[in-house]
C-alpha cells in the first residue's frame, strides 16, 4: 500500500469518526420517553420476531440507540431511523427470552443531543406462530387495483404471494381462512370470471360453487371446525353505501344473512332454522375449540338501508354435533345488544377455550368502517366481558385472530392514520391479561407511511403456505363443483 493511500484511508477514518461523533455521550436529559414510529415502547414481543426497526419523530440529524440485554448491549447509529442488524437482534432476543431489553435513545438536533428516558422491550417465553397471512388491498369503495393474499415470515421481513390478481387479472380474492392455523388447510373465495370457493387440503385444491337454491348467496365469512370436516359460513346479501358527512366514509350492511355449515366430506351445506331465521340476520360464525358450539352474531331484522344504524348484533351460540352434523335446538345469547346497546362482530375464541375476543361498534357488523369499534374480551368461564384498554385506540380496531398456542393475538387497527388498516400483535398471558401491542415490524420503518394498501384479515399460520396460486391455477380455471344443501332439522 502506498503512503498516499494510507493517508487517504486514515483521513477517511478520522472523518467518519468525526461525523459520527461522541457528542451523544454528553447529551442533555430530555425528561421524557422518545416518540418513535412504530411505537415499540414497553411492548411485549415474541423471540421469533424480526428486528423492530423504528424512526425517531422530530427529525433528528443523527441518533444512537443503546439496546441493552442481560449480557450484551447493541449500539446502533442512525439518522432518523434505527435499523437493527438481523443477526445481532436474533442473538440478543435468544439471550434475553423471558426478560427484557432496555432501549436508551440519544438524538442529535441542531441545538445539541438529547437523551431520552429508556423504554423496555419485553421478550416473552411464549413462542409465536412463525408466519402470518393477510390480504393487501386499498381501502376503496367498489373497485380494486393491485390486491392479493400474502404471507409473511415473522422472524424476517420476507413476504411471499399466496395468490394475487397479477396472476389472475381482474379477479378479487378474499376471506382466507386456515384450519387451526395450519398452512396445509386453507380456503379463500375468488370473485370474478373464475369465481368460486377454493378449498385446499394437503396440497389438493378444489373449487366449489357454494351458491345453492336454498341459500341467499355464495358462502362468505368462514370459520373451520377443529375436526377439519366442516367449515361454518355466513351467507349474506351485502350492500354498501357512501356517507356524505366528513367523518364517515362507507357503510357496509347486510340486507339478508344466514349461517350454514359446509360438510366437506359430503359436499353439503347444512343449517338449522335457528341459523336461517327470517326475522333476524345471522353472521360471523365461529366454532368453539372443542367443536361442540357454534358462536355467531345475530340481530333483529330491519329494513336496509333505512334502519342501518339501528341494526345491532348480539353474540349467540348454538350446539353443534360434529359426529352427525346436527345442531342443538336452543340458541344462547352471551352478549346481548339489550345490555351493550351496541353491536358485536367477529367473535374469535382462543384455542385454549378461555377467552373470546369480539369487536364492539355502535351498530351494524362491518366494523372496519366504524371509528368507534374496539376489541372486548369475554371470559369464557365467567361470561363477563370488558374492553381491552391496552390494545384499543381512538381509531378502528376490528378483525383479530389467535395464534395456535392462544398467547398471541393479531388484529387490524387503523390507529396510524384512520384509514389504512395495519396489523398489530398483542400478547395475552395465562390470566387473560393483554400487553401493549406492537405493529408488525418492517425493514423500512417508513414502509407503512408510503404503503397505500390495507392489511386485511391477519391470521397466524404455523408454517409457510406451499400451495400457492400457481399450483392452483389449473383448478382455478376449471368449472366449480356444485355443493348441495340440506336443513338438518
Amino acid at each position: 500500500m502506498t503512503n498516499s493511500l494510507r493517508y487517504i484511508l486514515l483521513f477517511s477514518a478520522l472523518l467518519l469518526a468525526a461525523s459520527c461523533g461522541t457528542g451523544w455521550k454528553d447529551a442533555e436529559e430530555a425528561g421524557s420517553k422518545p416518540v418513535i414510529f412504530p411505537d415499540y415502547c414497553d411492548v411485549v414481543i415474541p423471540s421469533g420476531i424480526a428486528p423492530l426497526n423504528f424512526r425517531i419523530e422530530g427529525e433528528p440529524q443523527s441518533s444512537v440507540a443503546m439496546i441493552k440485554g442481560t449480557s450484551e448491549t447493541l449500539r446502533i447509529r442512525g439518522k432518523e431511523e434505527i435499523i437493527i442488524p438481523v443477526a445481532k437482534w436474533k442473538k440478543l432476543l435468544a439471550g434475553n427470552m423471558g426478560g427484557s431489553l432496555k432501549v436508551t435513545l440519544y438524538a442529535g438536533y441542531k441545538d445539541g443531543w438529547k437523551k431520552y428516558e429508556p423504554f423496555s422491550i419485553n421478550i416473552s417465553d411464549d413462542p409465536i406462530d412463525p408466519w402470518i397471512a393477510y390480504r393487501l388491498i386499498a381501502p376503496g369503495y367498489e373497485t380494486w387495483s393491485e390486491m392479493g393474499i400474502y404471507q409473511r415470515e415473522l422472524s424476517s421481513f420476507k413476504q411471499a404471494t399466496i395468490i394475487d390478481n397479477r396472476l389472475l387479472p381482474g379477479a378479487c380474492m378474499n376471506c382466507h381462512s386456515f384450519q387451526a392455523n395450519s398452512p396445509d388447510k386453507m380456503m379463500f373465495h375468488l370473485r370474478g370470471n373464475v369465481g368460486g370457493t377454493m378449498l385446499v387440503k394437503d396440497g389438493e385444491a378444489v373449487k366449489l360453487n357454494t351458491k345453492t337454491g336454498e341459500t341467499i348467496s355464495n358462502c362468505v365469512y368462514p370459520y373451520w371446525h377443529p375436526s377439519e370436516d366442516y367449515i361454518a359460513y355466513s351467507v349474506n346479501n351485502i350492500q354498501q353505501v357512501f356517507h356524505s358527512v366528513s367523518d364517515k366514509r362507507i357503510e357496509v350492511f347486510d340486507s339478508k344473512s344466514d349461517i350454514v355449515v359446509y360438510d366437506i366430506k359430503n359436499n353439503r351445506l347444512t343449517s338449522t332454522s335457528g341459523l336461517m331465521s327470517e326475522d333476524s340476520f345471522e353472521t360471523f360464525p365461529c366454532f368453539s375449540p372443542d367443536g361442540r358450539k357454534l358462536y355467531f352474531c345475530s340481530a333483529r331484522k330491519g329494513k336496509q338501508p333505512e334502519e342501518y344504524d339501528r341494526i345491532k348484533y348480539s353474540l349467540c351460540s348454538i350446539d353443534f354435533d360434529s359426529a352427525t352434523g346436527r345442531f342443538g335446538e336452543k340458541t344462547d345469547t352471551l352478549v346481548s345488544t339489550e345490555h351493550t346497546g351496541r353491536s358485536v362482530s367477529f367473535p374469535r375464541i382462543s384455542p385454549d377455550g378461555t377467552t373470546l375476543v369480539f369487536t364492539l361498534s355502535d351498530y351494524g357488523n362491518f366494523s372496519i368502517w366504524h371509528r368507534e369499534a374496539d376489541l372486548y374480551r369475554l371470559d369464557m368461564k365467567t361470561g363477563n366481558y370488558q374492553l381491552i384498554d391496552v390494545i384499543n385506540s381512538s381509531e378502528t380496531e376490528s378483525y383479530h385472530s389467535w395464534s395456535s398456542n392462544s398467547r398471541w393475538m393479531i388484529f387490524s387497527s387503523r390507529r396510524v392514520d384512520g384509514l389504512y388498516t395495519r396489523p398489530f400483535i398483542a400478547h395475552m398471558d395465562e390470566y387473560g391479561t393483554f400487553s401493549k401491542p406492537f405493529m408488525v415490524p418492517q425493514k423500512d420503518p417508513g414502509f407503512y407511511d408510503s404503503c397505500l394498501r390495507s392489511f386485511n384479515i391477519p391470521e397466524f399460520v404455523t408454517g409457510k403456505v406451499v400451495t400457492d396460486g400457481r399450483a392452483m391455477l389449473k383448478i382455478i380455471g376449471s368449472p366449480a363443483k356444485d355443493v348441495n344443501f340440506a336443513l338438518s332439522d
Binding site: 397479477r166 387479472p169 353505501v241 356517507h243 358527512v245 367523518d247
Partner: protein, 617 residues
C-alpha cells in the same frame, strides 16, 4: 464525393423535417395526451422506489419511463423528451444497419423504428417505457454488433439477453432477433473464410450458441414465473411497462420488436446504384411520408385529445380557457360537455350560456362512475366544485383503483390530500402529502399544504378549501349519483350561498325540461345576489308566463330584460307561423332555452350508471 455530400445533406434535411414534425405534433396537436399520461403516474424520487422497481424484470425500464414521463408536467418537456428518444433510436438504428449495408442512400430506413415509436406514443395505453425499453435493447444490439471477435460477441450475447430482460423487459426478444439475423449474415460472410472453415470452430460454436440463446430467452422468464413472480405466461415474457392493459397483447410493440431484424434483412438485400441514389432517396422519402401520414392518422385519436384538453384545462381551473376552447372545438361527448358545463358554472356563466352549446341531457352535467378511470376522475372534478367532498373523494379513489396498469396517480393523490384536509382527516392527508413530497413537481405544493394540517383557521380562510368547508354537507345521507337531484336540493337548502350547486340544480331542471321544479327554485335565486338574472332563466320564466298569457312581455317580472322580451317575441313569431321553424330558428335562436325546449334532446333524465347498488336515507 459530391454524391456523398448531397446524401448527407438530404439526411440532415430529412432528419430536421422528421424530428421537427414530431415536436410540433406533440407540442401543438397532441400535448394533452402527454399531460394525461403524466397525471396517471406517480414517480417518487426515493431510493426505495428505485430498488422496488429493480426487483422485477423490466422494472428499471419502468422506472426510467416514469422518470421521463413525470416531466410531461411541463408542456414543452414532453415533446422534447420524445424527440430526444426518437433521435437516439434513429442514430442507433442507423449505425446498426450500417453494419449490414453501409450504403448511405438507405438512411430513411433507419427512421422507421422512430416513426413507429412516435405513432405508438399516440395511444395512451402505450407508456413511454415501451420506447425506452426498446431503446435499451437496441443499445445492447449495437454494442453487440460492434464486437468483432466472435467469441467475445457470443459471450456478450449470453450476458446481454438476461441483462436486457431484467433491465428492459420484453424488448430482449427484439435483441434476440437482432442477434440471430446479424449472426446469420456474419455466418454467410465468414462461410467463405478459409481459416474458420478449416478449424470448424465457428460452426461448432454457433451450434452451441444459438440453442444457448434460445434456452436463456425461454428459460429465464420461465424461472421467474416459476420461482419469483406469479403472473400469466404472456406477461412473463412481454413484461410490464410496454402496454398498460396487462391482459392484452401489445401488437404495435411486437411490430416494433420485429422491425429492426426485418430492416436488417431489407438493407442487406437492397442495392442502390450510385446514379440512382437521389431518385432512390426521393422514393424512400415519399414512401416514408405516406407511411407517416397514414400511420399517425391511424394511431392518433384526436377525439380523445379533445377530451384530454378539456380535462387538462379543468384540472388547472382555467375556466375561461375551457370556454374559449369550446368555441373552437365544441364538445362532442358527455365528458367534454360536462367539463365545459363545470367551467361555465365556475365562471358564473352556466345560467347565461349553457344553451349556446348542444346539451344532451343530464349526462352532460354529471358523470357516473362506470368502473373506468377517466370518467371517474373527471366526474370527481364536478363533485369537488359542488362541494360534495366525500363523493369527490370516492370518485377520485375509484379512478386510481381502475388505472389500467394498476399504478398510482399523482393527481388523484393530490386530490385525496385535499379532500381529507377539507374533511379534517389530517393524518390521512399528511400521509398523501408526504408521498407527494417525494415527487418533483408536486413537492412544493405538498410542502405548502403541510402547513395547513390541523390549522382550522388557515384552512377556513383558504379560498378553495375554506369554501368547500363552508358549503360542506351537514346532515348525513348516502350519496349516489342517481339521486343527484335530491342531493342538490339538500345542498341548496343547507347552504343557500352555494351558487355552483344552485346553478347545477337549475340546469338539471332546465335540461330535463322540468319547469315545475324550476319555478319552485326561483325564490332561492334571490339569495344568490345575481346582478342580473341569467339569460336562460329569463327565457324559461318567459316561456312559463307565455303558457298562461297571450302577452307574456307585459306580464313579465321586472328582472326580465327588454332584449329577452324582444327575442321571445321574434322567436314565437317564427315558431308559431313557420312550418320549417326548427331550421329557421336554428340560424338565430339555437342558443336560446326555447329552442332547446322545443327541439332539444332531453331523453335522459337520470344519470346513467352501470353499478347496481343504491342507497338513500
Amino acid at each position: 464525393m459530391k454524391n456523398e455530400k448531397s446524401v448527407r445533406n438530404s439526411e440532415l434535411v430529412f432528419s430536421g423535417i422528421f424530428f421537427t414534425g414530431i415536436f410540433i405534433f406533440f407540442m401543438f396537436f397532441y400535448n394533452s395526451h402527454l399531460h394525461f399520461a403524466e397525471q396517471f403516474q406517480l414517480f417518487l424520487l426515493t431510493g426505495d422506489y428505485f430498488v422496488s422497481k429493480l426487483a422485477f424484470p423490466g422494472g428499471f425500464n419502468g422506472w426510467l419511463g416514469d422518470f421521463l414521463t413525470q416531466f410531461y408536467y411541463l408542456s414543452f418537456a414532453g415533446p422534447l423528451i420524445i424527440v430526444g428518444l426518437l433521435l437516439v433510436l434513429q442514430l442507433i438504428l442507423k449505425r446498426m444497419l450500417a453494419f449490414i449495408n453501409p450504403d448511405p442512400g438507405l438512411f430513411p430506413v433507419s427512421f422507421l423504428p422512430s416513426l413507429l415509436a412516435g405513432m405508438i406514443l399516440c395511444n395512451e395505453f402505450y407508456p413511454l417505457s415501451s420506447i425506452t425499453g426498446f431503446l435499451i435493447a437496441m443499445i445492447a444490439g449495437l454494442i453487440y454488433m460492434r464486437i468483432d471477435v466472435q467469441s467475445r460477441r457470443f459471450i456478450a450475447g449470453i450476458f446481454f439477453i438476461p441483462l436486457v430482460y431484467w433491465l428492459a423487459g420484453g424488448s430482449y426478444l427484439s435483441l434476440l432477433l437482432v442477434i440471430f439475423v446479424y449472426e446469420f449474415f456474419v455466418w454467410r460472410r465468414s462461410g467463405k473464410d478459409e481459416e474458420v472453415s478449416k478449424a470448424g470452430n465457428g460452426i461448432f460454436r454457433r451450434w452451441l450458441y444459438f440453442p444457448a440463446l434460445i434456452i436463456l430467452s425461454a428459460g429465464i422468464p420461465f424461472l421467474v414465473r416459476q420461482f419469483l413472480i406469479q403472473q400469466p405466461v404472456m406477461l412473463t415474457y412481454v413484461t410490464e411497462y410496454y402496454y398498460n392493459l396487462r391482459t392484452t397483447l401489445p401488437s404495435a410493440v411486437f411490430l416494433l420488436f420485429i422491425l429492426p431484424p426485418v430492416l436488417m434483412i431489407i438493407v442487406k438485400l437492397a442495392v442502390i446504384r450510385e446514379k440512382h441514389m437521389q431518385p432512390a432517396i426521393a422514393v424512400q422519402a415519399g414512401l416514408f411520408a405516406l407511411l407517416a401520414f397514414f400511420g399517425f392518422r391511424s394511431f392518433a385519436n384526436f377525439e380523445a385529445e379533445q377530451i384530454m384538453t378539456y380535462d387538462y384545462l379543468v384540472r388547472n381551473e382555467r375556466w375561461k380557457n375551457v370556454i374559449k376552447y369550446a368555441e373552437k372545438k365544441p364538445p362532442k361527448n358527455y365528458l367534454s360537455l360536462s367539463m365545459l358545463n363545470l367551467s361555465l358554472a365556475k365562471a358564473g356563466e352556466l345560467g347565461n350560456s349553457m344553451f349556446r352549446y348542444n346539451q344532451h341531457g343530464v349526462n352532460g352535467l354529471f358523470l357516473a362512475f362506470n368502473r373506468e378511470y377517466v370518467t371517474a376522475l373527471m366526474g370527481s372534478e364536478i363533485l369537488y366544485h359542488l362541494s360534495l367532498t366525500n363523493a369527490c373523494q370516492e370518485y377520485a379513489f375509484e379512478s386510481m383503483q381502475t388505472i389500467p396498469d394498476m399504478g398510482q396517480s399523482a393527481r388523484v393523490i393530490k386530490r385525496l390530500a385535499e379532500t381529507n384536509l377539507i374533511n379534517g382527516q389530517y393524518k390521512v392527508s399528511e400521509k398523501y402529502l408526504k408521498i407527494l413530497e417525494n415527487t418533483l413537481f408536486y413537492r412544493k405544493w405538498a410542502k405548502t399544504s403541510m402547513t395547513y394540517l390541523g390549522n382550522e383557521d388557515k384552512i377556513n380562510s383558504h379560498p378553495d378549501w375554506g369554501e368547500k368547508r363552508k358549503f360542506k354537507v351537514r346532515g348525513d345521507y348516502f350519496f349516489h349519483i342517481k339521486n343527484i337531484e335530491a342531493v342538490l336540493n339538500r345542498m341548496v337548502k343547507e347552504n343557500p350561498g352555494n351558487r355552483v350547486a344552485f346553478e347545477y340544480l337549475m340546469a338539471f331542471y332546465m335540461i330535463n325540461k322540468d319547469l315545475r321544479n324550476f319555478v319552485n327554485l326561483i325564490p332561492a335565486m334571490e339569495k344568490m345576489q345575481y346582478k342580473s338574472v341569467p339569460v336562460s332563466y329569463q327565457e324559461a320564466i318567459m316561456y312559463i308566463i307565455g303558457l298562461n298569457s297571450a302577452d307574456p312581455a307585459s306580464n313579465a317580472p321586472s328582472y326580465i330584460s327588454s332584449e329577452t322580451k324582444a327575442r321571445m317575441k321574434a322567436y314565437a313569431g317564427i315558431y308559431t307561423s313557420r312550418p320549417d321553424a326548427e331550421s329557421r330558428l336554428a340560424e338565430k335562436y339555437a342558443a336560446t332555452y326555447w329552442y332547446y325546449l322545443h327541439f332539444g334532446d332531453a331523453e335522459l333524465s337520470q344519470v346513467e350508471e352501470t353499478r347496481d347498488n343504491t342507497g338513500s336515507t
